[in-house]
């Protein structure tokens, strides 16, 4: 069995983000609890292409590299697990989201949309970066077939307090995000995942991301390219 663990992406683990200060991130303080029920109706189809044998992987805090490396540097899929399992369960998904947020913040254009999250303190009523990571982790865990539902009952709780996760449209519509900016965001997220997630699973996640486009993109800007002035919102709005 070639199952082996891989510290996700850019070695940007929850602990290292925690050292950044205001955006401390760790799955441990989060009060989200898996539900007893199995995968719900929102689950994505388990379309992983068998390449190498494997078994269900317990939550370990790392994203799972399920199989052997492919010749082009990609990752082979593990056939014996659900997408949720292949991603390393909740903790693996959370690590992935932390890495993605880190890469999005590295882009000076996209970072502008997170103006509330990099403010100190984060304005009241807006989530911290850690809370965003937790909300998205539950969302992705839900659609990947994990024992969660979105939005999680009671919200997510971090050191900064409890935040009630919102739906995609409510979060993003005030930001007047263009189709071009959405594409840039997805491109960064996909590139961050690519070295650690097999192509088939990446396609599944990508399709799920693309499925949120109409809720996230401001309709009049759907066909617009990248916004010259990212994060255009009415004062006080935004995520």
């Amino acid at each position: 069995m070639n199952m082996r663990k891989l510290v996700f992406g850019l070695s940007l683990t929850a602990g290292t983000v925690a050292s950044a200060g205001a955006c401390s991130s760790s799955s441990s303080p989060t009060s989200v609890t898996p539900q007893d029920a199995g995968p719900d109706s929102a689950s994505l189809p388990d379309t992983g292409t068998p390449v190498d044998s494997g078994s269900t992987t317990p939550d370990t805090g790392t994203l799972v590299e399920s199989g052997s490396a492919t010749p082009d540097g990609g990752v082979a899929c593990n056939p014996g697990a659900t997408l949720y399992d292949r991603l390393g369960g909740y903790d693996g998904i959370h690590s992935a989201l932390v890495a993605i947020v880190g890469q999005e913040l590295a882009n000076p254009d996209i970072a502008s949309y997170f103006f509330n999250q990099v403010a100190s303190p984060v304005p009241a009523g807006h989530p911290t970066a850690e809370q965003i990571e937790d909300c998205f982790s539950v969302l992705l865990a839900t659609v990947a077939g994990g024992p969660y539902s979105y939005p999680p009952d009671g919200g997510v709780t971090t050191d900064a307090g409890t935040f009630v996760c919102r739906d995609m449209a409510t979060i993003h519509q005030p930001l007047l995000i263009s189709g071009g900016s959405f594409d840039e965001f997805v491109s960064i997220a996909a590139s961050t995942l690519a070295p650690s997630v097999c192509a088939t699973d990446l396609a599944t996640i990508g399709a799920a991301l693309e499925g949120t486009k109409t809720a996230i993109v401001y309709a009049p800007f759907a066909d617009a390219g990248l916004e010259k002035f990212p994060g255009m919102v009415d004062s006080g709005a935004g995520q």
Partner: protein
């Protein structure tokens, strides 16, 4: 209607049109910098961002830095931690590039000619160049985006960029895919290729994706990882 009333109506209508036109003009890109100087565009939430907050975002991103210092710190046209906002202004003026300031600490240029960045014309127009500055107005972050490329063009340009970076930095720390033109021609996961270089003081990324709507898309990112 009395002549006086007609006159007042014409004046009111003319005033309304003039005010509407003025508001419209102030929302045009060329007037945004004026609004910023006058106290901020009321529509631009991004104007809330300060260089301090930009630096906060960069420091979070830099948590994925490596452990060794970079043998070189390549960036396009400018020098990280050295080039200043004034240098960029001079370049913008000299090359007549179309740049704006969404908020302090960020300059975004559209449709940049490759020659303006010292690149070969065959690399194609850069749809967006984003430049981030620290609190001392020194360049610390740079990203480019090219959209709607041909698969062959995206493959050739990406491979050239990666080869140049590898010649200066050594092997990439992480990679996926090989920027193959055939794969880039297919929307979806197959078109994703990426390389990442990670040093204690420098980070660089090159990636391609094909999201269907964008066609092959090529991104470059060069960032100082110094505190």
């Amino acid at each position: 209607m009395a002549p006086g009333s007609k006159r007042r109506l014409r004046i009111a209508a003319g005033t309304l049109i003039a005010v509407t036109a003025a508001i419209g003009a102030l929302r045009a890109p060329f007037a945004r910098s004026l609004l910023m100087r006058l106290g901020g565009c009321p529509m631009a939430g991004a104007s809330k961002m300060t260089p301090v907050e930009m630096e906060h975002a960069r420091h979070i991103a830099a948590e994925s830095r490596g452990t060794e210092s970079a043998p070189a710190r390549p960036a396009l046209r400018f020098v990280l931690d050295s080039s200043t906002l004034a240098d960029v202004r001079s370049w913008e003026s000299a090359t007549h590039e179309d740049c704006d300031d969404p908020h302090p600490g960020l300059v975004i240029c559209k449709n940049v000619a490759p020659q303006a960045l010292g690149l070969d014309p065959s690399e194609g127009t850069i749809d967006q160049l984003a430049l981030g500055f620290d609190t001392q107005s020194r360049l610390v972050n740079q990203s480019t985006l090219r959209e709607h490329l041909s698969p062959e063009g995206a493959s050739r340009t990406a491979r050239d960029i990666v080869a140049t970076l590898q010649s200066k930095l050594g092997p990439a720390d992480r990679r996926s895919g090989n920027f193959d033109a055939t794969a880039l021609g297919r929307p979806g996961a197959a078109g994703i290729s990426t390389v990442a270089f990670r040093f204690s003081d420098y980070m660089a990324d090159v990636s391609t994706t094909n999201l269907g709507t964008t066609g092959p898309l090529l991104r470059e990112h060069y960032m100082s990882a110094r505190d």
